[in-house]
Amino acid sequence: MIPSVLGFAGVEIEPVESDPELLAHLLRSPQNCEMLGASLTSTTMASAFFERTSSELWSSVTRIRAARLRGLILNADTDPSSLNTRVICLAEGDLDGVAFAISLFARHLFWSFPLHRLYTYLPASAVEVAEGFAGAGFQTEGRLVEHALLAGHPEDVTVLGLLRRDFDAWATANAGALALKDGA
């Protein structure tokens, strides 16, 4: 759990224990459903999801706070033996700021847990979110053919990954305050 609000370039992320209404709203988008790997059609199901996620190892759920952007960023599928976890970003609005939110969340994960690698799976059509991950230092690692089913149609999925050392190099070059070596 993030101890407090983290902010950068006008975008903030804050810890959230539960916000089933926002999650259920965001999951009206088929793209977001695919990113989460779940279709939670009611706030009850969304509440159960928060409970389950918050009990997982090295997991965090945060809400994005920005002028024209809202959403949730969380991590799941953590593999403690290989020190990796999957980052999921469900957002709507002006996605220009989503890279800042993702970089804050990545910084939090690397700072708080002994993770070596973050990764995400995105439907190929989620171009703006993919640009947000790339803007936070994630590198494209390839494409899984027809991995997803969006509104009944098969779609490729792009895989992006971020290693701890990549993040530190990215932060040093782009956002010194977030660098792990010099931060805090």
């Binding site: 599928d77 290989s82 690698r117 991995h147 997803a148």
Partner: protein
């Protein structure tokens, strides 16, 4: 559906397993310290999603367990992802490939037309073999797997139906496996 039956090849036999199997637990222990595995090893011990579950790979001659092979479907539309571990201390060349061919045929029998295979970047033998068969990875998960004291890239290979047929035919010739080896073994 082939779940629950023993699959017999020339050198190896595939035996369906449950999580309580002591041989499986021993192999799992070897897997934690060994190199020859790939991807996040998801064992599906019960047949779910139409997949045939996990099989112990055994030496057909002695019955000794030498590895485990399994599949998983990471999302609704994804192909079956196949993972295989062979204990490097006891295996002989070709055993892993034979286990792959037999298991892939079981998946095909179960209606899986596309397969995905995760290979550790350090597994040069399998990578060379796949390259020789015209297969290139579509994804490189960088430093995704910790094994044998270091991080390894995981390379994901996608087999369409026609690519699977090509791989099956060439490996069957190489390993001198009959095309109907699985079918004949079904009665065992």
């Amino acid at each position: 559906m082939s779940a629950g039956r023993v699959i017999t090849g020339r050198r190896v036999e595939l035996r369906p397993v449950s999580g309580e199997d002591p041989e499986l637990q021993r192999i799992d222990e070897e897997r934690r310290v060994g190199l020859r595995t790939a991807g996040s090893f998801q064992r599906s011990d019960t047949a779910g999603d139409g997949l045939p579950g996990s099989f112990l790979i055994t030496d057909r001659r002695t019955g000794t367990a030498i590895g485990v092979i399994a599949s998983d479907r990471p999302s609704e539309n994804a192909p079956a992802e196949l993972t295989c571990f062979i204990d490097p201390a006891v295996h002989l060349p070709g055993w892993g490939l034979e286990a792959y061919v037999l298991y892939a045929r079981v998946l095909r029998d179960a209606g899986e037309t596309r397969l995905r295979l995760g290979v550790l970047s350090g597994d040069r033998t399998v990578r060379r073999m796949l390259r020789a068969l015209g297969q290139e990875p579509t994804v490189c998960l960088r430093e995704h797997e910790w094994s044998a004291g270091q991080f390894h890239d995981v390379l994901m290979y996608e087999f369409t139906e026609s690519a699977h047929d090509t791989v099956d035919a060439r490996l069957s010739r190489l390993l001198k496996l009959d095309g109907d080896q699985t079918a004949r073994a079904g009665a065992s």
